[in-house]
């Protein structure tokens, strides 16, 4: 095991229980994450990117079940290796890991704060849950944190209620709460999707600064390839519950191998060639639903290189192109 390993996910399988039958949502997902690394999980709605992150913190909704696999968390403090999958989702250990080791930020900051307590109260609560400090000390830490995330006049802001904050400020406050215990992993689930482009830029810059300052690892979940290119080191492309390509951010954007990745990158508008006024190259077909019966590679109905009796039968094996660029596609076998 490499020394700087933080998280290792092995063959994770998660199913959704619909009226007494199971539908696989996450299928054989494996990846790892080192200390201080920023990875992005990219995919469209229903591809399972959010579910994966929820599984890491064991915050899965009740109808989702982890069938098999391991989520190994290498604790930085006592050098333990914990399999998060085996933990009691309501037990002590997972509570310790959540918040203390894993911080989370979500798309909609309003719903993750309680409207009846002040922002300061809610940050203090997290601090005092995980650290033995006095109320006054916790309050001071909260003010410092609010200052760190760039909230103007943090001394006043600590006593304000969430509704008094704007969307961007709430997102900052949520980041403050997530990093309050100096976690080694920050899970950011579409943190900028609901924000305007100028605010999004501010949040991205803030996250990059914090990442450099505290050296934490970030799992960034998004569908926005622009954001991915700007913030991440490594990228995982997911399609219908499976990882189809992983690689460094340069590999993915400059040398994409999987047809889906390649199509995605060509489907988004770029500003560099406005004069040419080229058409976008769309991906044909529709985003499948989890109820569609798809065998083999789930992308095959939309793929230009679809090979009958191959792509629609078995899911391809992993092909390592370089040490950290892998693709799951028959084109490379």
């Amino acid at each position: 095991m490499p020394k700087d390993m933080l998280l290792e996910i092995k063959d994770l399988e998660i199913s959704l229980l619909v009226e007494s039958h199971m539908v696989n949502i996450i299928d054989n997902v494996s990846f790892d994450l080192k200390f201080g690394e920023v990875i992005a999980i990219v995919g469209e709605s229903g591809c399972g990117k959010t579910v994966t992150s929820q599984a890491i913190a064991r915050l899965l909704p009740r109808e989702l079940k982890i069938l098999s696999g391991k989520i190994l968390f290498y604790s930085k403090i006592d050098e333990r290796v914990l399999d998060v999958c085996k933990l009691d989702p309501k037990g002590k250990t997972i509570h310790y890991i959540r918040g203390d080791q894993i911080g989370m930020i979500f798309q909609e900051p309003m719903s993750s704060f309680s409207p009846v307590y002040t922002i300061g109260n809610q940050i203090c609560e997290v601090i005092r849950l995980h650290q033995k400090v006095s109320k006054k000390k916790a309050r001071n830490i909260s003010i410092e944190l609010l200052d760190t995330v760039g909230i103007p006049n943090p001394v006043a802001a600590v006593d304000q209620y969430p509704h008094e904050f704007s969307g961007g400020m709430r997102q900052r406050a949520m980041i403050a709460r997530a990093i309050s215990c100096n976690p080694s992993l920050l899970i950011a689930d579409e943190p900028t999707t609901a924000l305007d482009v100028t605010i999004q830029a501010q949040i991205l810059v803030l996250l990059q600064e914090l990442q450099k300052e505290f050296g934490m690892a970030i799992i960034f979940i998004t569908h926005d390839l622009g954001v991915v290119a700007q913030i991440s080191h490594r990228v995982f492309i997911m399609y219908m519950g499976k990882i189809v390509e992983e690689g460094s951010v340069h590999d993915i954007f400059h040398n994409p191998k999987h047809p889906y990745t390649e199509n995605l990158i060509h489907a988004i508008p770029k500003l560099g060639n406005l004069r040419e006024r080229r058409r976008l190259v769309p991906i044909r077909g529709n985003v499948p639903s989890i109820f569609d019966e798809l065998h083999g590679c789930a992308f095959h109905p939309r793929c230009k290189f679809f090979m009958p009796d191959k792509c629609d039968v078995h899911f391809p094996k992993c092909k390592h192109l370089t040490s950290n660029h892998s693709v799951w596609c028959y084109l490379y076998e």
Partner: protein, 345 residues
């Protein structure tokens, strides 16, 4: 270049709060506050701005789906010029044959209790334009043009994915062959791989049916791709209107500059250096004096706090509302063709 629509000093104020038992509104939110611009026949005009800048309200006020407080919207139909804001309701209903809209949310914009065929047919039925087999043929024709599976027309909207629903919405809007279409965030709720499909569909239909678009969106790259000209809106007013390339590569308004610098380029080699505009967006019920952007502008001067800048045509077809438009040297979007980049340095 014949104009299709002239918007003159359009205002839309919403009352907020009430005082007393049967009281009068306490304040008004100036969602659209004196907007003037022209849309040329056959072009795509983009409209961008932050959420709450009033771009959706502007789109709806132009169609008079919401009643504007004051101002004029002149629709040029051949040699006739019709003032949309002053005609009576029956005539307005007739005018809507020429002006249609597609919505952001493909879920709430289709009546869940009607089949797709009925939804697309409704404008023709309501206007008594077609009946019987003629009606059916027209529905099928438009559905096919919009890339819908004709066999599935008797299904209900809930059976369709977001992208297909958006196609249904487009088919309904276009079935009367309008001249003008307001596209209010038509792709922002769709998946990335579907967005390009809808964008291309809109482009194809524009050519086939000779349409004019007002394209409202907050995703700046999408607008850049879709539009010939773009207008930037801030707190209910236009701050800059220019041809797309000029606006993106050589903006002249500080607000546009900050917007452009914040677009994350889908290229890891193009590292973002956003100009972070300070402070919060002011309350639209109580906008700042002078230039509305002065509270967050990095080039602010005393003049900006007191004097309201007018939207003036500085260059041909480049309108800017800034006192220092000529002096300021501003940066454009992160991704630029090498040639343009060189000119700058």
């Amino acid at each position: 270049m014949a104009p299709l629509l002239e918007i003159k000093d359009l205002k839309l104020y919403y009352p907020v709060g009430r005082s007393g038992l049967l009281g009068k509104p306490i304040t008004t939110v100036k969602a659209v506050d004196g907007v003037s611009f022209t849309i040329i026949r056959g072009e795509s005009m983009g409209l961008v701005g932050e959420s709450g800048s009033g771009k959706t309200s502007l789109g709806r006020a132009i169609l008079r789906v919401v009643e504007p407080t004051s101002g004029k919207v002149l629709l040029h139909l051949g040699k006739k010029i019709i003032d949309i804001t002053s005609i009576n309701h029956d005539n307005l209903r007739r005018m809507w044959k020429h002006m249609q809209m597609i919505f952001q949310d493909p879920y709430s914009s289709l009546n869940p209790r009607m089949t797709v065929r009925d939804i697309i047919a409704e404008p023709m039925v309501a206007n008594h334009i077609a009946k019987g087999s003629d009606l059916k043929d027209r529905v099928v024709d438009m559905a096919r043009r919009c890339g819908l599976d004709v066999e599935q027309l008797s299904r209900y909207p809930h059976a369709f994915s977001g992208g297909q629903r958006q196609r249904i919405g487009i088919a309904r809007a276009l079935v009367l062959h309008p001249d003008f279409l307001v596209c209010d965030e038509p792709i922002s709720s769709l998946d990335v791989s579907i967005q390009a499909q809808i964008m291309n569909l809109l482009k194809d239909l524009q050519q086939q049916l000779n349409l004019t678009y007002l394209f409202i969106a907050h995703n700046l790259s999408v607008v850049a791709y879709a539009c010939d000209r773009v207008a930037v809106m801030y707190l209910g007013q236009l701050v800059e209107v220019a041809p797309t390339e000029i606006l993106y590569y050589k903006p002249k308004h500080p607000y546009t500059e900050s917007l452009m610098s914040a677009i994350p380029a889908p290229d890891p080699d193009n590292v973002m250096e956003p100009i972070l505009i300070s402070g919060e967006r002011p309350n639209p019920a109580n906008p700042p004096s002078g230039c509305r952007f002065h509270t967050r502008c990095q080039y602010v001067d005393t003049k900006c706090e007191t004097q309201v800048p007018e939207l003036i045509e500085y260059d041909s077809d480049h309108f800017i509302a800034c006192h220092y438009a000529e002096e300021l040297q501003l940066k454009g979007a992160l991704e630029q063709p090498a040639a343009v980049k060189k000119e700058h340095t």
